[in-house]
Symmetry: C2
Subunit: 327 residues, 2 copies
C-alpha cells in the first residue's frame, strides 16, 4: 500500500515554468493527485545556454522555496525539455534554451535539501497520461503531443522507455520524400504533420497568413480545398508513422495531444480511417485524446517525485533497522 506524499513538481518549458505543490499517492497502476498550490513563472533565457541553465536552476530553487513555505515536502520533481538523460540526470541538448550536457541533477542536489527526481518533460507528461489520464489501465502506449514539433513518450510494460534520452523522436521518422529537416534528413514527419508545419504549408500553398493549425482546421470546416490537401497530407503522414510504431512496438493506444489534437474528430476521424487501411498484421492501436492538457508535464514530475520520496523512505527504513540491530 503506497503512502500519501507531499511533493513539489516543476515543469520547465521553453517559455514558461509551471509548478505545483502536490499531495497524493501513486503505485504502478494508478495515482490520485491533488495540486494544492500552483504557480507559473517565465523561463529565464540568456544569450548563453549554460547561463540559461544556471538561471533555470536558480529560478526552480526559488519556486521550491516559495511553494514549500510552511511545508516540508517529501521530494521535489523537476522536468526539462530537449534531449534528457534521466539516468545521468543531464540535459544533453535543448534547441530552445541552448544548453548542452548540463548536469542538472548535480546542480539541484547541491541546492535542494529534499529527495530529487529529474527527467524529461515529454516523458513525464506521457507517464502522467498513462497513470492519471487517457492511458489509464494500459501497459503499452505512445503519448504523442503534436505542437511546434512532434516528440513522443513511450510507456512500455507500464514503464517509461527513455533509450538513454534519445527514444521517442517520432517527429523525425522519415515518412516520405520531403523537404530538408533541421535534423539533417529529408521527409521527417514533423515537416508535414506538426501544428506549425500544417500552418506553414497552407501559407506556402495559398499565400494567406494564418496564426496556426487552428486556422487551417477552420478553413477545412468551411470546405477550403487547399486546407483539405494540407490537412490530408498531415493525416496520411501521421497514419504512416503510427503504423510504423505498431509494427515495431505494438502500443495498445496512441494518445494524441498538443495543438493539432485540439481539432478532435477532424483529426481522429480521417486518421482512424487511414490507419484501418495501413494496419494489417499489426496490433491496431486505439486513438485517444490526451486528457491532462498542459498540466501533464507537471503531474508527471509529481509522480516521479512521489517515486523518489518512496525510495528515500525505504532507504530510511532500512537504515533505521540497521541502527536498531546495532544497539
Amino acid at each position: 500500500m503506497p503512502s500519501s506524499q507531499v511533493v513539489i513538481a516543476v515543469d520547465v518549458g521553453g517559455t514558461e515554468i509551471k509548478a505545483a505543490l502536490v499531495s497524493g499517492c501513486a503505485d504502478g497502476d494508478g495515482a490520485d493527485l491533488r495540486e494544492v498550490r500552483k504557480l507559473r513563472r517565465a523561463t529565464p533565457k540568456l544569450p548563453d545556454g549554460t547561463e540559461t541553465a544556471d538561471a533555470v536552476v536558480d529560478a526552480v530553487c526559488d519556486i521550491v522555496a516559495e511553494l514549500g513555505e510552511g511545508v516540508r515536502p517529501d521530494a521535489v520533481g523537476v522536468v526539462v525539455p530537449g534531449l534528457v538523460d534521466d539516468q545521468r540526470r543531464v540535459g544533453i541538448f535543448s534547441a530552445n534554451l541552448g544548453w548542452r550536457d548540463y548536469p542538472f541533477g548535480d546542480a539541484f542536489a547541491a541546492k535542494i535539501p529534499f529527495p530529487l527526481a529529474f527527467g524529461h518533460d515529454v516523458r513525464a507528461g506521457g507517464l502522467a497520461e498513462a497513470r492519471l489520464g487517457a492511458g489509464r489501465g494500459l501497459e503499452d502506449l505512445v503519448v504523442l503531443p503534436i505542437g511546434t514539433g512532434i516528440a513522443g513518450a513511450l510507456i512500455l510494460g507500464g514503464r517509461p522507455h527513455s533509450g538513454g534520452g534519445y527514444a521517442g523522436e517520432i517527429g523525425h521518422l522519415v515518412i516520405a520524400d520531403g523537404p530538408e529537416c533541421a535534423c539533417g534528413q529529408r521527409g521527417c514527419l514533423e515537416l508535414i504533420a506538426s501544428s506549425s508545419a500544417v500552418a506553414r504549408r497552407y501559407t506556402e500553398r495559398t499565400g494567406k497568413a494564418v496564426s496556426g493549425a487552428v486556422d487551417v482546421a477552420a478553413a477545412l470546416r468551411e470546405g477550403d480545398e487547399d486546407a483539405k490537401v494540407v490537412w490530408g497530407d498531415a493525416v496520411d503522414a501521421l497514419a504512416k508513422a503510427i503504423a510504423q510504431l505498431a509494427t515495431v512496438i505494438a502500443p495498445q493506444a496512441v494518445v494524441l495531444g498538443g495543438g493539432l489534437a485540439m481539432a478532435g474528430e477532424l483529426l481522429t476521424g480521417p486518421l482512424d480511417a487511414r490507419l484501418d487501411e495501413l494496419i494489417t498484421i499489426q496490433r491496431r492501436p486505439a486513438l485517444r485524446q490526451a486528457a491532462l492538457g498542459d498540466r501533464a508535464g507537471c503531474l508527471g514530475a509529481a509522480l516521479m517525485a512521489i517515486g523518489a520520496a518512496e525510495t528515500a523512505e525505504a532507504v530510511d527504513a532500512v537504515d533505521a533497522d540497521v541502527a536498531e540491530e546495532d544497539r
Copy 2:
C-alpha cells in the same frame, strides 16, 4: 544472489525441435548456463494447425520425459514461433505450422508437473543474446535475425518487450515503394533484405538459380554487378529500418543474426557506412554479430525457465513461512 537451477529448455522451430537439459544460474545482469544434455527432433506437421499444435505438445512432453530421466528439473521452458502472447500463453498464429489461438500454456500445464515458462522463439533468442551473447551488458538492444523473414526481439531497459505478442515485426516496416507483401502492405523490409529476398531478387534479375543469399554473397565477392545491385538494395533498406528503430526506441546496439549476417563484414561494412549517413540526431546503434547461432532460442527458453523456477521457489518459501506461523 541467485541459486543454481536445473531446467529443461525446448525451442520448437518450423522444421526442428531443439532441446536441452541446462544447469546454471541467472540474474538481471548475466547468466552462466551449461547444456548438460541436448537433443533434436523433427517438428511434427499435420494438415490441420490445431492437430499440429496437439502433436507438438505431445512431442515436447516426450522430450521433457527423456531429458528429465533421473533428474527432477526445477522448471521447463518452451518457446514457439509465429505470433505469441506470452502473458496469456497462447500461440496466436503460426504461418509455418498453421495454428491459431492455441492455448499452449494450459496444454503444457496439464501434462508437465514442473513450473513452466512459455514464450516466443525470437524474443527468447533475443533475451539469450542480451544476457549471454552479443548484447551482454547492454540495457537497450534489438536482436535482428535475418533469414526467410525478418523479425526482431526488443530488449528495452533490460527486459524483453512483447507488445502483447505483436512487437518487433521489423520485417514489415514499410521502407520504400516495393512489391506487395503477404501482410497486405507494399514495400516491406523483408521483401528486399531477407536472405530469401536477396536470393529471389538476384534470380529475377539474372535468371540464374541460386541456393540462397550465400550464393549472392559469393557472386558479390567476385565483382558480379547484379549481385552488387541486389546486395546494395538490401543494405540500404536495412539501414533505413535501423535508422527508424534508432529514432523510435534508440537501442545501444543492433545484433544481426540469421543467414544474411553470416556474410559478416560484407554486410556490416556497407551497413555501417550507410548508417553513418542516415543517423543524425539519433543515438547511433552499434552493429554486432549474434554470438549464439541457432542455440539462442533454446538458451533463451532456459533463462525463462530459470526465472520460473526462482518464482516457484519464492512462492514455496512464502508458503513455508505461512505454515510455520500457523503452527
